[in-house]
Assembly symmetry: C2
Homo-oligomer: 141 residues x 2
């Protein structure tokens, strides 16, 4: 199951902009990208797509399950490749480093908490805001 088939099954035509965006995420240089990030990276590599298109494509990919959208602290949202594995994030408040983690116990207790209060868990978002420890932030100069 490659990119093309993914697009197909989502009822999306395989267009140039879409393929560009997709391969950007698959190249894996950076895992978490905002619409603006994607836009700039594409421009930088000579491919010029409109910003509006980037937004549209990103959202379509999210609907299609190709990408996952996150709202870290701040206003702009970021997207990452959906590799099937659900995970949460730890974000360094200083340098922005992002680590992913998964904790089965947390997941389970969430479901329990919801159930106990008459809810059926549909989804959740957990972000841990922290500071890299030690001398200085690893990603800070």
């Amino acid at each position: 199951m490659n990119e093309l088939s993914h697009l197909k099954s989502a009822g999306l035509k395989s267009t140039l902009p879409r393929l560009k965006v997709l391969s950007l995420f698959e190249s894996g240089s950076e895992r978490h990208l905002s619409a603006e990030d994607v836009y700039k990276k594409l421009l930088a590599s000579g491919d010029d797509v409109g910003l509006a298109t980037v937004y549209r494509v990103l959202n379509q990919f999210e609907q299609a399950g190709l990408l996952v959208k996150h709202h870290f602290e701040g206003d702009k949202s970021v997207f990452e490749l959906n590799q099937g594995d659900h995970h949460d994030h730890i974000v360094c408040l200083q340098c922005g480093r992002v680590e992913e983690f998964y904790d089965a116990t947390i997941e389970q207790r969430q479901k329990k908490a919801a159930a106990e209060r008459g809810f059926e868990l549909h989804d959740h978002s957990l972000y841990i805001y922290a500071n890299c420890v030690k001398p200085k932030c690893q990603y800070r100069n």
Copy 2:
């Protein structure tokens, strides 16, 4: 320690708009309010404050530790009275009902997850998005 002393200790003058906003939260009719909500409620009760002021005051109160700000799904943020007890939220995707909960295990595992990855937990945000169970959503018509 009342409202006035709170304002004082935060270095904030006790002005009319600030007292109005504060008492709105303390009246407790609704626990979670957005800037827009506050603005409308004040207008409705004849007190007319500017929207900009509401935003300013809300943020100052957050800095001062009087209120806590949350970003539920969607774009606008909501505030609630800070009563010292940290808790997370479950939000019904259908009707918007919000329940608060606290799970010591979750809290602890978060700290652990952060520590294990070289972070010092500073803060976190956990929102569970769910649906009220049973026949129909309690708050839905």
